[in-house]
């Protein structure tokens, strides 16, 4: 059995200066009875695209504006302006890849999220 020497490191640790900070006032969470959401349409505030690991990369040049991606998107992530799709709205896109799968022109490619 080898003996392991105990290292004494206490000397090298410098005492940390205590930082005095003002205690923050606790904000009380207001909750409704029975978890009722009383403002209609408030789900727009809860951006659910933040746990996406892949995102659809749209190639504007290859796109023919056939609108297949707009039709197949299970959320509302393909905005349309003047009868043409524009850059993907990633706020609610979960990166499911349906648009990429359905695009027969190869204009949408799923790429890894950079985080």
């Amino acid at each position: 059995m080898r003996k392991i020497k105990k290292k004494t490191t206490t000397k090298s640790i410098k005492p940390v200066k205590k930082i005095k900070s003002k205690p923050k006032k606790k904000q009380e969470l207001k909750i409704s009875v029975g978890a009722a959401v009383l403002t209609p349409g408030s789900s727009i505030k809860h951006k659910t695209g933040d746990w996406r690991s892949m995102y659809p990369d749209w190639d504007k040049k290859k796109c023919t504006q056939c609108m297949a991606c707009w039709m197949y998107c299970p959320d509302d992530s393909i905005p349309v302006k003047n009868k043409k799709r524009i850059e993907t709205d990633l706020d609610f896109c979960k990166g499911c890849g349906i648009c990429a799968k359905e695009c027969i022109f190869g204009a949408i490619e799923m790429k890894k999220e950079k985080k």
Partner: protein
């Protein structure tokens, strides 16, 4: 006030008729069936103006009740045993959405082996579902408690669903004289239900859609606080009932019988309390000081009242009609926990009795009193003989 000899199930149906729920989604199951039958007769005869929904299962019965209650109308349902087990998932949704649904449970054992007779294993399994649980002893109490249940559940400080448990067959199918009040008297006691957040196309809301980790715990704490409030509201509803109808059941949470000067007591719930009363009377005649503590309200558990009732006792026998397998009777566990931190506390014994319709007789009660008065060690026993 007419007095009628009716079945306890009919008494419950009569109580529902007096409270006039707008929607009644129900699925018949033994031994709750007579409640469903009587209510559908009332609706058919034009005595009760309610929408009866014939659902395809108990899961759907409570789901429909949730939908109905969410639109802001008084809602009632009833079930038993396997039906309550099938509802289990939905029980938590009803309480989480804080919907004051009233449900009668005609207590019956759970399979397997299949058994249609009475014990408390069905409702005890739903103990932690945040439903208020009241247990009744007689047909009159079943009638009175069902009316009180609407008042308790619909109170703004409570807003929780409520189970009124009556023993299957031993109570649900028993004929007893029941005082039926005038409709105006019930109207005076039970005001119209005024909901706060309801499903309404004119003012759209979403009920209970999602609770993120930052808020979910707060909703659960609110439920626990509502349960604490319920203790007071149940007491208040009981005393208000007393002033209007001249009847009450202890303080609404527990009822004590001959506890004055008693050294030993039996703690139980439901119809066996009647049997215990007879045994207590017999022993009192012989000069033996015994009493009864009837637990009427099991959830929320009336901790303070239990502590006060047990203070002067030396021995208490808790009779459970259900088992938490792998440990002990659920009422026994709770009672011990309630008085654990008290300095002066009685020795507490556990008796498991009357599972699956096994008779619990006066002699059983006399034997229990005899056993607990002689021992100095805690007894844990199943009454199998």
């Amino acid at each position: 006030m007419p007095r009628k000899v009716i079945e306890a199930s009919t008494a419950v149906a009569e109580a529902v008729k007096f409270c006039k729920p707008a929607v009644i989604p129900m699925y018949p199951i033994t031994p709750q069936t007579h409640i469903v039958e009587r209510i559908s007769e009332f609706i058919n005869d034009g005595d009760l103006d309610s929408e009866m929904i014939h659902v395809e299962s108990e899961h759907s019965a409570l789901s429909a009740a949730i939908g109905s209650s969410a639109t802001g109308v008084r809602t009632y349902t009833a079930t038993a045993s396997q039906g309550l087990a099938l509802m289990h998932e939905v029980l938590f949704v009803a309480s989480g959405m804080r919907l004051p649904i009233v449900m009668n449970v005609a207590n019956r054992a759970l399979s397997a082996p299949i058994n249609i007779w009475n014990d408390h294993s069905d409702s005890m399994a739903a103990r932690d579902s945040s439903w208020i649980q009241l247990y009744v002893e007689s047909a009159q109490e079943a009638f009175d408690t069902t009316i009180q249940a609407f008042k308790i559940a619909e109170n703004k400080k409570v807003l929780l669903p409520i189970m009124v448990c009556l023993d299957g067959f031993t109570l649900s199918h028993v004929y007893e004289p029941v005082d039926l009040p005038q409709q105006s008297k019930v109207n005076g006691y039970l005001p119209k239900y005024k909901p706060s957040n309801i499903l309404d196309v004119k003012k759209p809301v979403s009920l209970g859609p999602i609770g993120y980790p930052d808020s979910f715990m707060h909703f659960k704490k609110a439920q626990q606080d509502a349960m604490d409030n319920a203790l007071k509201i149940i007491k208040k509803s009981n005393s208000e009932f007393k002033t209007r109808f001249k009847r009450s059941y202890g303080n609404g949470l527990i009822e004590t019988y001959n506890l004055k000067g008693a050294k030993f007591a039996i703690v139980c719930a439901g119809s066996i309390c009647g049997t215990t009363r007879v045994a207590v009377d017999e022993l009192r005649k012989q000069g033996i000081k015994v009493g009864l503590i009837k637990i009427k309200c099991f959830r929320p558990f009336p901790k303070e009242d239990i502590i006060a009732a047990c203070k002067k006792l030396t021995g208490v026998a808790v009779i459970d009609r259900a088992v938490s397998f792998g440990f002990e009777g659920p009422m026994f566990t709770d009672l011990k926990a309630a008085i654990f931190n008290e300095k002066k506390k009685p020795l507490i014994h556990s008796f498991i009795a009357g599972l699956g319709g096994r008779d619990v007789t006066k002699n059983d009660m006399l034997t229990i009193f005899k056993k607990i008065s002689k021992t100095k060690k805690p007894i844990t026993e199943w009454l199998l003989d």
